[in-house]
């Protein structure tokens, strides 16, 4: 396995086989006509400009702006370099920062400790030959097609104080979305609801790609099902495990839509992503300050993106 999909799942549509290493592709370049060379250049250049211009340059600009005191109004010439002062302010005199970091970490912990393992567990169960497996799978990943913004509304029907199902059943008066002591948990349940299905799907595809003879061999050796999973299947799935880990980290760092539709990320639902947005589109636009927050997100995500790229590219070369 390797090569085509990271997770070689669907054997229904196998890629046309045969990927022996490509010998001497480069040499043939010289044979290309001038038109061909122009075409190739355009085919790469146009998308590249778009991605560099709209993703990488803004990312670099974010890092640069985080070292300035630009208020967003004056011309770029008036910008003063302030070094790390914005970071100092973010950490020391910005009250929502600490709760936001805590909430992001809590988000990560909840997904990583509960939702991700549960999704993997369900995938392992569904990987058996089981009647009705299709129904179970469909039900579990149905939430994956819904946007997180919509999920916020769907769960409002359960969490609402006066009209919600939860209070109707429990007889309480808790405002599950509003009460800063509980709302992060309420939102996490909704986020986890979607995340479980997503991980289940990824992991199930990975499991289907595991050579069945591995398991049979382990069974012949008298290994129990559980120890077969942990000693044989799990180690073999290393690339997918890393991908699942990275997906989980990135999801918890990018979490935004859900808290934004609930209350724009205030009052117990602070997240880094929401703070950055508040600093740009909100009343006070503090560019340098918001950029410092954004840079923190950027750095954390780049660490995991690098890990991800190394994993998939290594898979790719094998």
């Amino acid at each position: 396995m390797s090569d085509l999909p990271l997770i070689q799942a669907d054997r229904a549509v196998p890629p046309p086989a045969a990927t022996t290493t490509t010998r001497g592709r480069g040499r043939r370049l010289r044979l290309l006509s001038r038109t061909d060379r122009v075409v190739i250049t355009l085919m790469v250049l146009v998308p590249l400009l778009l991605v560099v211009g709209l993703v990488w340059l803004p990312a670099a600009a974010t890092v640069l702006l985080s070292g300035t005191d630009w208020d967003g109004i004056g011309s770029l010439g008036e910008i003063d370099w302030v070094g790390l002062r914005n970071y100092d302010d973010v950490v020391n005199i910005y009250p929502p920062f600490v709760p936001a970091v805590q909430n992001n970490l809590l988000w990560l912990a909840a997904l990583f400790v509960v939702a991700t393992p549960f999704g993997m567990f369900l995938a392992v169960l569904l990987d058996k030959e089981l009647r009705g497996s299709r129904f179970y799978q469909t039900a579990l990943y149905l939430p994956v097609v819904l946007s997180l913004a919509l999920i916020g509304f769907v769960w409002q029907l359960i969490y609402s104080r006066d009209q919600g199902l939860l209070n109707a059943v429990l007889g309480g008066q808790t405002d599950w979305y509003g009460d800063p002591h509980v709302n992060i948990w309420a939102v996490l349940v909704a986020a986890g609801w979607r995340h479980v299905g997503y991980i289940m799907l990824l992991y199930l595809a990975g499991l289907k790609g595991v050579d069945p003879s591995l398991r049979e061999a382990a069974a012949v050796d008298g290994s129990s099902e559980i120890s077969t999973f942990f000693r044989v299947v799990f180690p073999v799935m290393r690339p997918i495990n890393i991908i699942v880990l990275v997906v989980t980290v990135i999801e918890s760092l990018r979490a935004f839509d859900l808290v934004w539709v609930v209350n724009k990320g205030r009052n117990g639902l602070e997240l880094l992503s929401a703070l950055v947005t508040q600093n740009v589109v909100g009343e006070a636009s503090r560019i340098g300050f918001g950029s410092a927050l954004a840079t923190i997100m950027l750095v954390v995500s780049l660490v995991f993106i690098t890990l991800y790229l190394f994993t998939v590219m290594r898979e790719d070369r094998r």
Binding site: D3, L6, A9, D10, P16, G26, R28, L29, D36, V39, I40, V46, P47, L48, L50, V51, L54, V55, W56, P58, L65, G72, L130, G132, F135, T138, L142, P143, V145, S147, L150, F153, Q156, L157, S160, Q163, G164, V196, Y198, L202, A205, D211, S213, E216, A217, I243, V246, V247, I250, R254, V261, S273, V276, A294, M297, I305, Y308, L309, V312, M313
Partner: protein, 303 residues
């Protein structure tokens, strides 16, 4: 995977080799999975149920009751939140964005897969990583940039990239390209190279090799990606929220926020609105489930 030694010794895949299922264990398994599945469907079913009942009935009898069936919530929600307009907006954004993403991504993927240059890995990394960055990390410069770039009035009445469909389409394309480049280049690398040799003997230009040889063979991957991208771009919330200003121009997913303001006290209406917004993705889900799953597992990244 280096499993050659094991494979050789393992018994062939005969039915006899399969363990006989333990009955009681299977029952427990089905009970467990059934409970989880129903639990997972429940929030959606609850939304559908609530949307079909009148506010007056549920207000006096509570939500844990049956009765008060009506279809009025849908009519009211459609009218009040102007869903017709917002669905059209979503269409204007999603269709061009998906087509453009697939076209541009397949161009890059083709070059990466067809020619082996030293820069290919860097190029692939550049595109793939762009898809995984947190959007908020780019927001500030991008927001400023969009408010500075003028557009002619016939393109957008805002006369800026900000608050225009064009800007939103471009951002979505830039962000989604990476994922598609990654999936498509892997797919294209698996195509036999002899195809191109044959095409070159026939004197086919690079463009014809791309358009007439590679692209038709990539149909399964393109179909899967198209399904996935339609869902994602339709569901996109962040960029539309921050890069649009005129309420009338919001796509349906970000116009959800208006729904809450207007209907805050009427959850039955909120649920009808939610179901309406979910319908396109649910239709895709049920009709094109295979494509959707294949697209996700083909790439396995993305949130």
């Amino acid at each position: 995977m280096s499993t050659a030694t094991l494979t050789g010794e393992a018994p062939a895949d005969t039915p006899a080799a399969r363990r006989r299922p333990l009955r009681p264990a299977r029952v427990v398994l089905h009970l467990f999975l059934g409970t989880v599945a129903v639990g997972w469907l429940f929030p959606i079913l609850w939304a559908v149920l609530t949307s079909l009942r009148s506010y007056e009935y549920t207000a006096s009898n509570g939500y844990v009751s049956l009765g008060g069936w009506t279809f009025d919530n849908y009519l009211t929600a459609w009218r009040t939140a102007e869903f017709g307009k917002h669905f059209l907006n979503s269409l204007y954004i999603t269709v061009p964005a998906v087509l453009l993403t697939l076209f541009l991504a397949s161009c890059v993927a083709f070059v990466i897969a067809r020619f082996s240059w030293k820069l290919n890995i860097a190029l692939l990394g550049l595109f793939t990583a762009a898809n995984l960055l947190p959007q908020q990390a780019l927001l500030i410069p991008l927001f400023r940039m969009f408010t500075q770039i003028p557009l002619p009035a016939w393109m957008s009445d805002s006369e800026l990239l900000y608050d225009s469909y064009w800007g939103l389409i471009l951002v979505n394309v830039a962000f989604q390209c990476g994922f598609c480049v990654f999936v498509l280049s892997n797919y294209m690398k698996a195509l036999p190279h002899e195809l191109y040799e044959a095409a070159m003997v026939d004197g086919a230009s690079v463009w014809r090799q791309y358009w007439q040889v590679t692209m038709p063979l990539c149909r399964p991957a393109l179909a899967a990606l198209a399904t996935l991208e339609v869902t994602w771009i339709y569901n996109e919330f962040f960029w539309a929220t921050v890069l649009m200003r005129t309420g009338d121009k919001f796509p349906v997913t970000s116009s959800l926020n208006n729904l809450r303001g207007e209907f805050f006290t009427d959850n039955n209406l909120v649920s009808a609105g939610s179901v309406l917004v979910a319908i396109p993705t649910l239709v895709i889900f049920f009709l094109l489930q295979k494509q959707f799953v294949r697209g996700l597992t083909l790439g396995a990244s993305k949130g």
